[in-house]
C-alpha cells in the first residue's frame, strides 16, 4: 500500500483499528467492562480528532524524507476515491465530538436499563467511521460504502433495547426504509454511471458540464431522494418521528447529531462537486424539500406531547433551514449551512442531555407535561433547558439566532427572498413549541408526582457545556465562522 494513502486516511485507520480492538476486548471481558470501553471510545474519538487537526503539521517537516508529495489539505488517496479537504476536516471534527458526547450521554441510561454491553461504544465508533468515510468520499462507490457502514451500525443501535417493543420496531422500520433508500441510491448511481461512464467525482463533474440528458437528471433525482432520506427531509422524513421516539434516548441523541450532519455534508459535496453542472435541476429539488421540511417540521411539531417526538419534528424543520443554505449553492450558503449545523449539533445534544436527566421513579419521563414545575425543583436544569429552547427558537443573543441569521442572510443576498420569508415565518410557528416547553417549566404546576431528575456527572458536563456555548457564542463566533468559510471555500470548484 502506498504510504500516501496511509497518511491521508490515518485518523480513519486509527479509529477502525481501535474499534476492532475494543470489540475484541469487550467480548473477552464481558459486560463488566462497558464503562471502561466507553471511556476508551471517548478517548479514541477525541484522539482521532486531534490527529485530524494536527497530522498535517506532524508530517510536514518530514515530508521530503518520507517522499510524501501531497499531504496538504485537499489531498486525495486510493486513486482519488478519498479526499481529505478542509470541508471534510471541519465536518469530521464535529462528528467525532458528537460521537464522544453521545457515548458520554449513554452511560447512566444504559446501566439503569440493563443495556451495558461493550458493543455499544464499538458500534458508535463504527458508525462514526462510516460517517467519516462518507464525508471524505470522492467517488460514488466510496460514498455508498461509507453510507452503508454507517447505516448498518445505526440499524443495530436503534434496536439496541431488544426487549423493548418500541425500540425493536424503530430499528426494523429504519432498516426497511433504509434499504429502500439504499436501493434508490444504487439505482441513481447506476444511471449516472450509465450515462457518464464514471463514478469518480472529478470525472462526473467534467462530463456533466453542459445540458444534461434526461437520464442523468433521473439519476440525480434518485440520488437526491436517498440523501434526503438520510437527512430526513420531507417527503422522505417519515421514519424520523417513530425512530426518534422508539430508539433508546442516547441513541436518539446520537441520531439527531452525527448522522444528520454527516449526511448533510455528503449531500452538499455530491451536489456541489460532481453534480455542479446540474445545479439548475437540483436547486429545484432542494428548494422544494427545504420549504416542505420547514413547513411540516414547524406545523406538525405543534401537536406533539412526547418531547422526543417533538425533537424529531424540530430536526425536520432544522434540516429545512440547512437546506436553505444548500439551495443558495454558493460559498456563503455552504458556510451558513456549516455554521448552522455546528450550532444545531451542540444545541440538540444539550437538549437530549436534559431529557436524559428526567426520570420519575427510575422510568424515563418523556412527556412535555412532565417538565412542569422543573424551574422550582431544579432551577439550573430549567435554565439550561430554557437556554436551549430559546436558542432553537432563534432568540438573540443565543447561538441559535446566528445560525438562522447566516442562513437567511445568504438566501437574501442570493436573491432567494421567498425562501427566507418562509423560513422566518415557519420559525415563528416553531417558536411556539419551543416556548411552550419554557412555559411548562416555569408557569405550570407539577400535577402528578414531580419528575426527579438525576443529573449524572457526565450529563452535567454535557448540558452545562452546551448551554455555555449557546450563551457565549455571541462573544467569540469567529473561530466557527472562519473555519466554516475555509471549509466552504475548499468545496467550491475554484478552491
Amino acid at each position: 500500500m502506498n504510504v500516501e494513502n496511509i497518511y491521508a486516511t490515518f485518523p480513519e485507520l486509527f479509529l477502525a483499528s481501535c474499534a476492532l480492538m475494543l470489540l475484541l476486548f469487550g467480548v473477552k471481558r464481558g459486560n463488566d467492562a462497558t464503562l471502561f470501553t466507553g471511556l476508551i471510545a471517548v478517548v479514541v474519538c477525541l484522539a482521532a480528532g486531534v490527529l485530524l487537526i494536527k497530522l498535517p503539521s506532524f508530517v510536514e517537516p518530514g515530508q521530503a524524507q518520507l517522499g510524501v508529495s501531497a499531504l496538504c489539505h485537499g489531498c486525495k488517496a486510493f486513486g482519488g476515491m478519498f479526499i481529505n479537504d478542509a470541508f471534510a476536516q471541519f465536518v469530521k471534527v464535529l462528528l467525532l465530538l458528537a460521537s464522544a458526547i453521545a457515548i458520554m450521554l449513554s452511560w447512566g441510561y444504559m446501566e439503569r436499563h440493563g443495556l451495558e454491553r461493550p458493543e455499544y461504544p464499538a458500534l458508535i465508533l463504527f458508525a462514526t467511521l462510516g460517517m467519516m468515510l462518507m464525508v471524505s468520499a470522492n467517488d460514488l462507490l466510496a460514498l455508498y460504502m461509507g453510507l452503508e457502514l454507517q447505516s448498518l451500525a445505526l440499524y443495530v443501535l436503534a434496536s439496541f433495547r431488544r426487549d423493548h417493543v418500541r425500540s425493536s420496531e424503530a430499528g426494523l422500520k429504519y432498516f426497511v426504509l433504509g434499504s429502500l433508500s439504499s436501493g434508490m441510491l444504487l439505482y441513481g448511481i447506476s444511471l449516472l454511471y450509465g450515462y457518464t461512464g464514471s463514478t469518480g467525482f472529478e470525472a462526473l463533474a467534467h462530463v456533466l458540464a453542459g445540458e444534461p440528458p434526461i437520464g442523468v437528471v433521473l439519476g440525480l433525482v434518485f440520488v437526491c431522494a436517498a440523501m434526503a432520506f438520510k437527512v430526513s427531509a420531507v417527503p422522505f422524513h417519515m421514519w424520523t418521528p417513530d425512530v426518534y421516539e422508539g430508539a433508546p434516548t442516547p441513541v436518539t441523541a446520537f441520531f439527531a447529531a452525527g448522522p444528520k450532519l454527516a449526511a448533510l455534508a455528503l449531500f452538499v459535496r455530491v451536489l456541489l462537486q460532481p453534480l455542479a453542472g446540474l445545479e439548475h435541476q437540483w436547486v429545484q429539488v432542494v428548494v422544494f424539500m427545504a420549504v416542505a421540511s420547514m413547513l411540516l417540521g414547524s406545523f406538525a411539531g405543534l401537536a406533539q406531547s412526547n418531547i422526543k417526538r417533538l425533537m424529531a419534528y424540530s430536526s425536520i424543520a432544522n434540516v429545512g433551514y440547512a437546506l436553505v443554505g444548500m439551495a443558495v449553492a454558493n460559498e456563503a450558503g455552504v458556510q451558513a449551512l456549516l455554521v448552522y449545523l455546528s450550532i444545531y449539533l451542540v444545541n440538540t445534544l444539550g437538549v437530549f442531555g436534559v431529557i436524559l436527566c428526567l426520570r420519575r421513579e427510575g422510568v424515563m419521563a418523556e412527556k412535555i407535561a412532565d417538565l412542569a414545575g422543573l424551574s422550582k425543583s431544579h432551577p439550573l436544569l430549567a435554565v439550561a433547558m430554557g437556554i436551549f429552547m430559546f436558542s432553537l427558537a432563534g432568540v438573540p443573543p443565543l447561538a441559535g439566532f446566528f445560525g438562522k441569521y447566516f442562513v437567511f442572510l445568504a438566501a437574501v443576498q442570493a436573491g432567494m427572498l421567498p425562501l427566507a420569508i418562509i423560513g422566518v415565518l415557519t420559525s415563528c410557528v416553531a417558536a411556539y413549541y419551543y416556548l411552550r416547553i419554557i412555559k411548562v417549566m416555569y408557569f405550570d404546576d407539577a400535577t402528578e408526582a414531580a419528575v426527579d431528575p438525576v443529573p449524572e456527572f457526565s450529563l452535567r458536563i454535557v448540558t452545562g457545556g452546551a448551554a455555555l456555548l449557546m450563551l457565549l457564542f455571541v462573544f467569540m463566533p469567529t473561530p466557527v465562522i472562519d473555519s466554516a468559510l475555509a471549509a466552504a471555500h475548499s468545496l467550491m470548484p475554484q478552491g
Binding site: L172, L177, I214, V234, M238, W239, A300, Q304
Partner: protein, 663 residues
C-alpha cells in the same frame, strides 16, 4: 429678557416642582410654591406691560431655541411680546394668580391639592406659550397644551362619571376645531412658505387676490386659510356649533371654570384672530363669517342663559355670549374693541365665577338656583361681589361720568358694529348691532335673575344647608378684591388706551386695521372702524344702557314683584321655551348625527373589522389554521411502514414527473 422669561417660565417651574414632588412637599408647600411662581410671573407681567405698552418700549422678541429644522421648514421656540401680548400676559397671569390664591381656600378639603395646583400652573404656562408665540406652530403647542390642562382639570374629580364624560367631550369637540387649525397651519406654510408671523404678515397683502383650485373650483386662498384658522378659534372659544363642551365643562372645580372657562383659555380664539389681524384684514369674506358666527353665538347663548337653573351654567352661557360679542367685534375689524372687552370680561367674569364658587361653597355644594334664595345676609361680601360683577357684565354706568367695565367695552363693540354697518359691512353691521342689543337685554335679565334667585326671596333648599351657610374664608374673599376693582375701574381707565385717543400709540403695529371711506353723511376722512365708532349718533351708545336697565327691571318684575310670571311665560311660550331650555337641542342633534354614528361605525369596525376580519383571519385565524395543519401533519404519521415507503416512492415519482414533463 430675564423679566420675560420669568413671566413665562415661573409657572412651569412651579408646575414641575409640585407636579413631580407634590406628594412629598405636602399641601401647604405645594400651594406656596405655585402661588409664589404665578404671583411673581404676574408682577413681571405688569412690569412688562408698563415697559412695552405704556412707555412705548420696543417689542420684545427672543429666539430661545431651535425647535424643528427640516428642509425649508424652520421653527424656533421664541417669545414675541408686543402690546397685544403684554395685555394678555397681565390678564392671564393676573387672573391666574388670583385663582391660585382663591384655590387655597376653595380646595382646602380636597385630597388632591398638589395635583390641582400643579395643573393650574401648567395651564398657566401653556396659555403663556400660546400668547407669547412668534409663530403658528408654537401657538399650536400652547393651544394643545391648554386643551390638555383643561381636560385634566375638568376631570379633576375623576371619580365622577359626569366629569369623565364632560372632559372627554371637551377634548373631542376641541379636536374638531384643532383639525381646522392644523389645516390652517399647513395651508399657511404652503401659502406663505413660513409659519413665522413676521413673514406671514409681510406677504399677506400680496396674497389678497390669489386663489387656488380645489375640486375644480377656484377658491380664494386667504379667505380659506382664515376660515380654517377660525374653525380652530370656534372650538377653543365655544362659538356656536362647537360650543357644546363649555357648559359641560362646569363639572370641573369652580376656580377652573373661572380661570380656564371664563377668563383665559376660551379667549384664546379671540386672541388668535387679533394676533392674525394683518392676515384677516385681507380676507373680508372671512371676517364677515366671523361677525355672523359671533353675533349668532351672542344671542343664542344669552337666550339659553335665560332658562337655566344651574348657577354655573348660567354664567357659562353668559361667557359664551360675551365671547360672541368679542367675535363680532373682530368680524367688524374692531380688534382693539374685542381685546378691550376680553380684558374687562376677564375681570368681571372671573369675579362672577369665583363669587358663584363662594355661594356653592357656602351652600355645601348646591348649584341649583331653585334651591337657593334669601341668603344675602349670610354671605354679604359674596353678595356685594356678585352685584359688582353683574353690573359690570350688564354694562351699567352713568354716561359721561363713570361706568362699570362692561359699560365701556360693550358700548364700543356695539358702536363699532353700527359704524361698520354704516361703512363697509353694510348689512352685517346693522344686524350685529340689533342682535347685540337684544343680547344685552337678555344679559341684564339673566344676571339679575341669578342675583334675585340666589340671594333674595326665601330660602328654598333644606334648612340644614341654610344653617351651615357661612361666608367664605379670607383666602377666597381676598383675591376677589383686585378682580372687583378691575370690574369697576378697568373700563374707565382702559378706554383711552385700548380704543380711545391713545389707541394708535398704545397698539402700534401689534394690530393692523385697514382704513375705509367714512359714512357719507359725516365729514371725516378715511379711518378705521373704531375711529368711526366714536362719531356715531349718541343714541347708538345710549341704547345698550337703556335695554340693560330694561332687562334689570324685567328681572325684578319676574322674580320679585310677580313670581308667578316665569311659570306662566314658560307655559305660554310652550315649544319655544322648551327649545331654548333644552339649549336648542344641539347636544341631542350631535348625539344623533355624530356620536351614535361614530358608535355604530366603531362597533361595526370592532365586531366585523377587528374581531371577525383582523383577529379572525389574523392572530386567531392563523393560530386555528396552525392547529388544524399540525393535526393533519401528525396524522400523516400512521406508524405503518408501508405508508412511509409509499410516501417516499410518491415523493420520488413526483420529482421524476416534474423533471420529465415540465422542467
Amino acid at each position: 429678557m430675564l423679566l420675560d422669561l420669568a413671566a413665562v417660565f415661573l409657572p412651569l417651574l412651579g408646575a414641575l416642582v409640585v407636579g413631580l414632588f407634590g406628594r412629598s412637599l405636602g399641601d401647604r408647600a405645594s400651594q406656596l410654591v405655585t402661588c409664589a411662581g404665578v404671583l411673581a410671573a404676574a408682577v413681571a407681567s405688569v412690569l412688562i406691560f408698563h415697559d412695552v405698552a405704556l412707555s412705548g418700549g420696543d417689542t420684545h422678541a427672543w429666539v430661545l431655541a431651535n425647535w424643528i429644522t427640516s428642509g425649508d421648514f424652520k421653527v424656533n421656540w421664541g417669545l414675541k411680546i408686543d402690546t397685544l401680548t403684554a395685555v394678555m400676559l397681565v390678564v392671564v397671569n393676573g387672573v391666574s394668580a388670583m385663582v391660585h390664591i382663591y384655590s387655597i381656600g376653595y380646595m382646602s378639603h380636597d385630597k388632591g391639592v398638589p395635583r390641582f395646583m400643579a395643573y393650574l400652573s401648567l395651564f398657566t404656562f401653556f396659555m403663556l406659550m400660546l400668547v407669547t408665540s412668534d409663530n403658528l406652530l408654537q401657538m399650536f403647542f400652547g393651544w394643545e397644551g391648554v386643551g390638555l390642562s383643561s381636560y385634566l382639570l375638568i376631570n379633576f374629580w375623576y371619580e365622577k362619571a359626569s366629569a369623565n364624560s364632560a372632559s372627554i367631550k371637551a377634548f373631542l369637540v376641541n379636536r374638531v376645531g384643532d383639525f381646522g387649525f392644523m389645516l390652517g397651519i399647513f395651508g399657511c406654510y404652503l401659502a406663505f412658505g413660513s409659519v413665522q408671523f413676521d413673514v406671514m404678515f409681510q406677504k399677506a397683502p400680496d396674497l389678497m387676490q390669489s386663489s387656488f383650485s380645489f375640486l375644480g373650483a377656484s377658491v380664494p386662498t386667504l379667505t380659506t386659510l382664515c376660515l380654517l384658522l377660525f374653525v380652530g378659534a370656534m372650538g377653543k372659544s365655544a362659538q356656536l356649533g362647537l360650543h357644546t363642551w363649555l357648559p359641560d365643562a362646569m363639572e370641573g372645580p369652580t376656580p377652573v371654570s373661572a380661570l380656564i372657562h371664563a377668563a383665559t383659555m376660551v379667549t384664546a380664539g379671540v386672541f388668535m384672530v387679533a394676533r392674525l389681524s394683518p392676515v384677516f384684514e385681507f380676507a373680508p369674506d372671512a371676517l364677515a363669517v366671523v361677525a355672523v358666527v359671533g353675533a349668532l353665538t351672542a344671542i343664542v347663548a344669552a337666550s339659553i342663559g335665560l332658562t337655566q337653573f344651574d348657577i354655573k351654567r348660567v354664567i357659562a352661557y353668559s361667557t359664551m355670549s360675551q365671547l360672541g360679542y368679542m367675535f363680532f367685534a373682530l368680524g367688524m375689524s374692531a380688534y382693539p374693541a374685542a381685546v378691550f372687552h376680553l380684558m374687562t370680561h376677564a375681570f368681571f367674569k372671573s369675579l362672577l365665577f369665583l363669587g358663584a364658587g363662594s355661594v356653592i361653597h357656602a351652600l355645601s355644594g348646591e348649584q341649583d338656583m331653585r334651591k337657593m334664595g334669601g341668603i344675602w345676609r349670610k354671605i354679604p361680601f359674596t353678595y356685594a361681589y356678585m352685584w359688582i360683577g353683574s353690573l359690570a357684565l350688564a354694562g351699567i354706568g352713568i354716561p359721561g361720568v363713570m361706568g362699570m367695565a362692561g359699560f365701556y367695552s360693550k358700548d364700543i363693540i356695539l358702536e363699532s358694529a353700527f359704524a361698520a354697518g354704516m361703512t363697509h359691512h353694510q348689512a352685517f353691521g346693522v344686524t350685529a348691532y340689533v342682535l347685540g342689543l337684544i343680547a344685552a337685554f337678555m344679559t341684564a335679565f339673566y344676571s339679575w335673575r341669578l342675583l334675585l334667585l340666589t340671594f333674595h326671596g326665601t330660602f328654598r333648599g333644606d334648612h340644614h344647608t341654610l344653617e351651615h351657610a357661612h361666608e367664605a374664608p379670607w383666602s377666597m374673599l381676598g383675591p376677589l378684591v383686585p378682580l372687583a376693582l378691575g370690574a369697576i375701574l378697568a373700563g374707565k381707565f382702559g378706554y383711552d388706551l385700548f380704543v380711545g385717543e391713545a389707541m394708535a400709540e398704545f397698539w402700534r403695529d401689534s394690530i393692523l386695521t385697514l382704513s375705509y371711506f367714512p359714512p357719507r353723511e359725516t365729514h371725516l376722512g378715511v379711518g378705521t372702524t373704531i375711529q368711526f365708532a366714536h362719531h356715531v349718533s349718541d343714541w347708538v351708545g345710549l341704547l345698550p344702557l337703556v335695554v340693560a336697565l330694561a332687562g334689570i327691571f324685567m328681572a325684578y318684575v319676574f322674580y320679585v314683584w310677580a313670581p308667578s310670571l316665569p311659570g306662566k311665560c314658560a307655559r305660554g311660550l310652550g315649544a319655544l321655551y322648551r327649545l331654548v331650555f333644552n339649549k336648542y337641542y344641539f347636544d341631542e342633534l350631535y348625539n344623533a348625527v355624530f356620536v351614535r354614528t361614530a358608535q355604530r361605525v366603531g362597533k361595526a369596525l370592532w365586531t366585523t373589522g377587528d374581531d371577525a376580519i383582523i383577529d379572525g383571519y389574523g392572530p386567531n385565524g392563523v393560530a386555528a389554521l396552525a392547529v388544524r395543519l399540525s393535526q393533519r401533519a401528525s396524522a400523516l404519521e400512521t406508524g405503518y411502514v408501508y405508508h412511509y415507503a409509499f410516501a417516499m416512492v410518491i415523493g420520488l415519482a413526483g420529482f421524476v414527473t416534474w423533471f420529465w414533463f415540465w422542467a
